[in-house]
Symmetry: C2
Subunit: 263 residues, 2 copies
Amino acid sequence: MTRQSRNPYIVQPVMKALKVLELVARHGHEIALTAVGKELRIPKTTTFRYLQTLSEAGFLTHNQETDKYNIGPLMRSIARADASVSKIRQLARPAMIELMNEFNETVNLAVKGDGTIVYIDLVEANRSLRMQARIGDSHPMHSTALGKAILAFLPEAEKQRQLDRPLTERTGRTLLEREEIERQLRMVAKQGYATESGENEDGAMCIGAPIMDENRYPVAALSISAPLMRMPRPLAAKAGARLREVAQAISGHLGSDAGIPPA
Amino acid sequence: MTRQSRNPYIVQPVMKALKVLELVARHGHEIALTAVGKELRIPKTTTFRYLQTLSEAGFLTHNQETDKYNIGPLMRSIARADASVSKIRQLARPAMIELMNEFNETVNLAVKGDGTIVYIDLVEANRSLRMQARIGDSHPMHSTALGKAILAFLPEAEKQRQLDRPLTERTGRTLLEREEIERQLRMVAKQGYATESGENEDGAMCIGAPIMDENRYPVAALSISAPLMRMPRPLAAKAGARLREVAQAISGHLGSDAGIPPA
DNA sequence: AACTTGCGTTTCGTGCTATGGAATTTGTAT
DNA sequence: ATACAAATTCCATAGCACGAAACGCAAGTT
């Protein structure tokens, strides 16, 4: 059986199951077990097992009525999340570079995870002393300006749910009192941006504003972070105003235009 | 190792590799081998092989620079195709039912495949004698009204590429002469709909109009099919006009509105 | 109604290959 | 230059993926 090319690390069951997944997904409609097996020249017993596994994992669905298979919810949800992140990053990048040049501090972009914010892009300041997260890092919502900016604009129910969880204490200054946090969030909602001073990382501060999707749901946030000493109050206020402005512009573009045209 | 629950047809390597795929895709950003293994409690050797396989299959990409993995092009392309098909079908369905009632003949919806058209939906006429394709079937472009409607509005380069391939002869009336086909396509482009008489199936005819995306690229087509005897010229012309109208309305909706809002 | 056909599901024994510990290489930080 | 971490390669083992064949079920045929 002349199967895989050169790479000796290919796991055949996985590779073949992926072919099945691709075929079903590409087919665009319900397709039956036998049809899949015939097309890919895989014995029906094996095809059966792959389809079962793919369905169990949520990548496919198995229609009990017709005994046929189709794309599953997981596939769609992953794709949707990915597309959204790509779009936000793409829209935000030019503005982030602009902001970095304006303030000469690191600019961060993060999306809302579950109870956390996840950095998806950052433009680093050209300075020796700088605070920096890494793309992919996740931090608690309540201890970061990015998170507070998102929290403040979340629907009430979800906001409460987030605050119900145990709140980790990142530094001595991290806010842990429910009352205190809610008070701050009301102010954030009013002024349109959030600030944080040494609550997430000692000696660092951060200013953040939310990015909303077409339903005014805060899906992401933009921030400027700097050492405390380099960011006096007036400058922070100026940064906040600019962030709010830029984040709103990005939000405006999020609902509208289509992506890349097909090949 | 107590792994999978009840279903005895689960193939472990496949299931575990899918968990890896999901983790990487969900992470939203490049992630390293070790991190994946640690998260899922899979030994790194095995994780390595899964990542290799997933990458080879195109579901992930392996960034040589950073030695990290991310969502691959295949995943995106499948998702994009699926979303597009779902949207078209959803938009077209009401209009198709309307058309079926109007003419009491089968109405078909197909998307452009590579060199073929693929049926993605159909509303069957309530008659005993009816021609019918099945969802998922694919037919050549040059022998169907659906295909000709799409061909006529394809960018010149792609149209030529399609006609360069060997053209299969479906019936005695199938057009095979390049000259003849091109002449017809020019007429289709002018009148906005295509017709086909016994060129794909003996005794059947079909009238089709293209559905365009926001870039005026013909991604799909709508058609009415009937036995030749039930579709005299004047009726065919009337059907063509209606199809053009309806297809244009659908095209108009394709570019605009957003999908389902996030949960 | 008996028969056939086609498909999904189940069973089961065999041998292949997926596996993961350990060794090695590569790359990076100190 | 050295240490550390991370990726890749090696290898021996047994666990389980595989597919032929049998089974059950439903739809269509005579």
